[in-house]
Amino acid sequence: MTTYLRSLASEFAKVFQTRLWWLLAIILVGYVGTAAGGIALAFAFAPEAMSAPGAGLPVGDALAPLVYSMASATGFVFPVILGAISVTSEVRHRTLTTTFTAIPRRGIVLAGKATVGLVMGAMLGVLAFVASVGLGALALGLGDIDTRLGESDIWAMIARGVLAMALWGFVGVGLGVMVPSQIGSIVAILAFTQFIEPLVRLAGGLIEPLGEVVKFLPGASGDALVGASFYTLMGGAGIELEWWQGALLLAGYGLLFLLIGRATFWRRDVT
């Protein structure tokens, strides 16, 4: 237990004494804030015809959760990257030697990293929702649309969004130890989250058998957990899992990646 707490303290020290976390935080806040504010404005001032019933676009009450959830729907890749880099930077800078001589029990080092991935993910989540709710509500207000910030449903969704971001940080650590090359893992993250999964999910909306599988993909699990998704707008497969099923599935992905990495790269000789 002591060793685990020390591993945790040392992993936090690594994160907070380097610049990456706040660089990512600044970009995340800017990105999510712009996206949430922009979408809120676009719909608030959309021409009548676009928001007419039957056009399939969210109107009125459906708009606020969509705008706020931009924090996790577009920002989830940030905690994944931070988590993955906590492992891959040790490979890139050849610091595993020092890390493992300080704490020779490698499983405990990995547990420390996974925990820090969760906590940093939650922290980025809080920042992202501050940006999306702040700028989103402002824009909705300008368009005279109900911000719904007095409703507990909305705050429950925001809490689930923060949980999703935390789990994404955990998934990132698993991904980093499974694909320890820094470039390799970042390319994998970007290719999968920005290209492969979105395409498959769009296709899943059109091809029925595929739709059954698509809801179990990591991104779809995350959306199920938060309970609102941009993909529902784009005609992709909707949300079919319960929020807690999405949470378990996302955690399961993280755990699976961690175990694969633990059994392969993490136990190899450090040469």
Binding site: S10, T101, A102, I103, D269
Partner: protein, 307 residues
């Protein structure tokens, strides 16, 4: 402060088909500086990584005071090491040391103490990305000293130091050994550590070639003599006739296996007037090179390093 002995007990390591280290079997004693010498690629770093539990041995065990590194209760307070002078470039020197104290539970007051000890206090708050090789070496040494350990394992600690730094580290290692600590440092140059080490372990192609006091290293290949005469050809003929293999160099003939007395007597008996005769100087380096360049020499008998 009494360090624990380091023991390599028939340690071998294969990387796939390649035998990186074969049957290493030696002890390193406290209170002495032991040089771990061999050319690049001889298996020095692999051996040290096995000792620190970073690489799993294919056979045998390497222990510190009888325990494998992985089983030490307080690894960095027992053994300080620098195997890699690599750090996260975005950390400051002080930040790096704080990461290590957090990981090991070593008191944070040690950070300033070791920075002072290695002369890095004024650079401590700069990012490591801007450090020179010499500064990285000093920071690596500071990391090793953090836990005030009884055993120090240092891989090429002199590499990249300027002459003043080399003099400084020699003094430091001597002081640490005199305090009773066990010190094992690797180098690919005998001359680099010749003035520092008491004992040496020489390895080449993954096999140990010599284990023992530095002073006795020359004895392992026997004496050597440099001799010169006006008539070099006649002198060479006499030596060859006696079964020796003189090598002609700029200063005359070098004969291994004979001391100057014996060479002088042979020349006298043959009536050849000599113009120079003496024991070969700088022989230690030559002996070292001879040891490591023998392609498939049988293992040198493994003597215990005298405490």
């Amino acid at each position: 402060m009494t360090g624990s002995p380091i023991l390599f007990d028939r340690v071998s390591k294969n990387f796939g088909e390649v035998a990186a280290v074969v049957d290493l079997d030696f002890a390193v004693q406290p209170g002495r500086v032991t040089g771990f010498l061999g050319p690049n690629g001889a298996g020095k770093t692999t051996s040290l990584r096995i000792l620190l539990g970073l690489v799993a041995a294919s056979a045998g065990t390497a222990t510190i005071g009888g325990d494998a590194y992985l089983r030490l209760r307080h690894p960095m307070r027992s053994v300080g090491s620098t195997l890699e002078v690599s750090f996260h470039p975005g950390l400051t020197g002080r930040g790096h040391l704080r990461v290590v104290t957090a990981a090991t539970g070593i008191d944070r007051s040690r950070v300033d103490a070791v920075l002072e000890q290695v002369g890095m206090s004024e650079h401590a708050d700069r990012r490591i990305g801007g450090y020179s090789m010499g500064m990285r070496q000093r920071l690596g040494l500071a990391t090793a000293l953090l836990g005030d350990p009884g055993v120090l394992v240092l891989d090429e600690p002199i590499n990249g130091l300027d002459p003043e730094g080399i003099r400084w580290i020699r003094g430091l290692l001597r002081t640490l050994a005199d305090e009773g600590r066990t010190i094992l440092l690797s180098s690919h140059l005998l001359t680099e550590v010749q003035q520092t080490v008491d004992d040496v372990v020489v390895i080449a192609s993954g096999r140990q070639r010599y284990v023992g006091p530095l002073a006795a290293l020359g004895a392992s290949t026997g004496p050597a003599t440099v001799v010169d005469a006006a008539d070099r050809r006649a002198l060479a003929a006499v030596l060859t006739l006696e079964g020796h293999e003189p090598v002609i160099g700029p200063d005359g003939l070098t004969v291994t296996g004979l001391d100057p007395d014996a060479v002088g007597r042979l020349a006298l008996a043959a009536g050849i007037p000599l113009r120079a005769l003496g024991a070969r100087s700088g022989g230690l380096e030559d002996d070292f090179l001879a040891l490591v360049s023998e392609p498939d020499a049988p293992d040198a008998p493994a003597e215990e390093v005298a405490p």
